[in-house]
């Protein structure tokens, strides 16, 4: 259904994924993804009408009661953050509203 994957397609999808790519990567991925998708399209020729999709292959999910349990201390949760205000207990990000 797609025999080409353009640089514009790469840019559109990269933005959806919040992923910055340089010019070389855009060209490389456009070319390689066209090849990968052409290869992947063989699955579209398999008749699947009425076949249930498989989302995972385990025996069954093991559910438990949703009980309050101890969690990580706040300081431990903040310790690996590139920018945090430990005293206030906050992760910091660039200004969201101008």
């Amino acid at each position: 259904m797609t025999d080409t994957f353009s640089r514009g397609d790469v840019e559109r999808v990269a933005h959806l994924a919040r992923l910055e790519l340089n010019a070389e990567e855009k060209d490389l991925f456009a070319r390689q993804l066209a090849g990968i998708l052409a290869y992947a399209e063989q699955i579209q020729r398999v008749p699947t009408e009425g076949v249930e999709p498989t989302s995972h292959a385990g025996d069954a999910a093991m559910l438990r009661d949703d009980e309050v349990q101890p969690s990580l201390p706040r300081a431990a949760s903040l310790a690996a953050a590139p920018d945090a205000d430990a005293a206030a207990g906050l992760f910091k990000v660039p200004r969201v509203i101008g």
């Binding site: 259904m1 397609d9 790469v10 999808v13 990269a14 933005h15 959806l16 994924a17 919040r18 992923l19 910055e20 790519l21 340089n22 990567e25 490389l28 991925f29 390689q32 993804l33 090849g35 990968i36 998708l37 290869y39 992947a40 399209e41 063989q42 699955i43 579209q44 398999v46 699947t48 076949v51 249930e52 999709p53 498989t54 989302s55 995972h56 292959a57 385990g58 025996d59 069954a60 999910a61 093991m62 559910l63 438990r64 990580l72 431990a76 949760s77 310790a79 690996a80 953050a81 590139p82 920018d83 992760f91 990000v93 660039p94 200004r95 969201v96």
Partner: protein
């Protein structure tokens, strides 16, 4: 007297007082110091922590009850360890120190194992050669100009070079079995849900499974006794009863009378290296000689397994990797003016090529207009592949295949062509798509002395049969005793 190299022997020697855990640990650290530099199997080694832990074990009163007492273990660097940097071999997690342990880490430590370090892998476990590590490739101990396979190449190389007797990896499409085969060791992917994934850095959650590397099936079984079981922190961890894997093997026969081995010959028509094929055929003859019955089976949808896998795995990866946004952990791009700019630049700088390629592919197959044609269709074909295996496994106990279509390939040989690299997993992805247990055991050496692996796949949650058959095969053949050349 030479030091024991198998986990069970190491543990027995410490229990009986012949050696101490500290002595054992020091030897492992010495071997790592001597052998790791040319191989780059380890991302990090933690000598002080390991020796302190070993000393603690030597002083413990209940030490003789511990099934892995003093056994040095290496962990793939996508398994979270409290206080030890865990990077999944990605720049975006460079320097990240998790505040918690994975369930498997808790279980190993409770069993008396000594964690000596973290092993190199393809970035976020995405690859089949360990060349996608942001910190340089791992080399194959059998031939240092070749890859160890991947993505758990560091763990495979560490066990093959006898730096550690056992290690953990993760297997999403073959990432334990393929490197184990290429490095001449045993690698086991348990049934989906047999081992908790809590604390495993997620790649494709419906396919990922943690499992052991070892030099013998018996050691893999000891590891499974420790690792397997339900976990309230992973709802996909199965509540099915866990057998005593070691005891199953202890009572094992020397023959395979009554065992039915399925062989899907139609899959080997093309693309399998002649020497690999010869070793595989010889392995089948061994099983027949041991009393097994060889049965032709058909897996008609298996040729679709690779494309189905790459649609599903990349879709799940694009979702799982959304969490690396520069806010809570890891790398953050400097001086971004807005959050979106921060996310885009952080991820652009933090992820390597293969990870980016898969995020783009996965986002695309989930995006509006393409979801049904790719993602849903792949999930439907996944059902057909699962049904194939279920049908075949009603008539046989295990299905035999070569683990990898080729022996270890040269570094750089497949990096320019993603589809060629993806085909390395042609015989392994099926077990992940169907959730089945699968083991690889060494079954030969090529004329260049490169290892070949025999893969046995079994029924869902019948991990014990897979290990049992592999154990009988292993004990009847010399291949697990073969070692890579000593470095000059």
């Amino acid at each position: 007297m030479e030091s024991p190299t198998r986990a069970r022997d190491i543990r027995d020697a410490i229990v009986s007082g012949q050696r101490s855990a500290v002595e054992t640990c020091r030897e492992a650290l010495d071997r790592i110091a001597a052998l790791n530099p040319p191989l780059n199997a380890f991302r990090a080694v933690v000598p002080e922590r390991a020796l302190a832990r070993a000393a603690e074990l030597d002083a413990r009163a209940d030490r003789t009850t511990l099934p892995l007492l003093g056994v040095p273990v290496a962990l793939k660097d996508n398994i979270c360890t409290r206080g030890i940097a865990t990077t999944a071999s990605s720049r975006i997690l460079d320097g990240y120190v998790p505040p918690y342990d994975a369930t498997v880490v808790e279980r190993l430590e409770a069993a008396g194992a000594v964690i000596v370090g973290k092993t190199n892998c393809d970035e976020f476990a995405m690859g089949s050669s360990t060349e996608n590590s942001a910190f340089g490739p791992t080399c194959n101990p059998w031939s240092v100009d070749r890859t160890p396979g991947g993505s758990s190449g560091g763990s495979a190389a560490a066990v093959a070079a006898r730096m550690v007797p056992v290690a953990l990896g993760s297997d999403t499409g073959g990432s334990i079995r393929q490197p184990a085969a290429l490095c001449g060791v045993v690698g086991f992917k348990p049934s989906y849900g047999r081992v908790s994934r809590y604390g495993l850095i997620a790649f494709a959650s419906s396919l990922d499974q943690i499992g052991p590397f070892a030099t013998t099936v018996a050691d893999a079984a000891v590891m499974m006794d420790v690792l397997a079981g339900p976990d309230p922190r992973d709802s996909t961890a199965s509540a099915a009863p866990v057998p005593d894997f070691s005891r199953t093997l202890d009572g094992n026969d020397k023959r395979m009378a009554g065992v039915r081995v399925g062989v899907p010959r139609h899959l080997f028509a093309e693309g399998v290296d002649a020497e690999v094929n010869a070793a595989f055929e010889a392995a089948l003859e061994v099983t027949r000689g041991l009393g097994a019955e060889l049965v032709d089976v058909s897996l008609p949808y298996s040729p679709q397994a690779i494309p189905v896998y790459y649609v599903i795995a990349t879709a799940e990866a694009s979702s799982n990797l959304a969490r690396y946004d520069g806010v809570r952990y890891g790398h953050r791009a400097a001086n971004a003016k807005t959050p979106v700019e921060m996310y885009e630049r952080t991820r652009g700088a933090g992820f390597g090529r293969e990870v980016k390629r898969r995020i783009i592919l996965g986002t695309y197959v989930l995006s509006a207009g393409y979801y049904d044609a790719y993602y849903r269709q792949a999930q439907q074909v996944r059902t057909l592949i699962r049904d194939d295996y279920a049908r075949a496994l009603t008539g046989v106990d295990v299905i035999a295949m070569p683990t990898s279509p080729t022996a270890a390939f040269k570094l750089g040989e497949r990096t320019e062509d993603p589809v060629q690299m993806y085909l390395s997993d042609v015989f392994t992805v099926g077990a992940n798509l169907a959730g089945l247990p699968a083991v690889t055991v060494p079954c030969g050496l090529t004329t260049n002395r490169l290892p070949v692996g025999l893969q046995l796949t079994g029924r869902l949650m019948d991990d014990a049969t897979v290990l049992r058959v592999a154990d009988v095969y292993e004990r009847a053949t010399p291949w697990s005793s073969e070692r890579p050349p000593q470095p000059a």
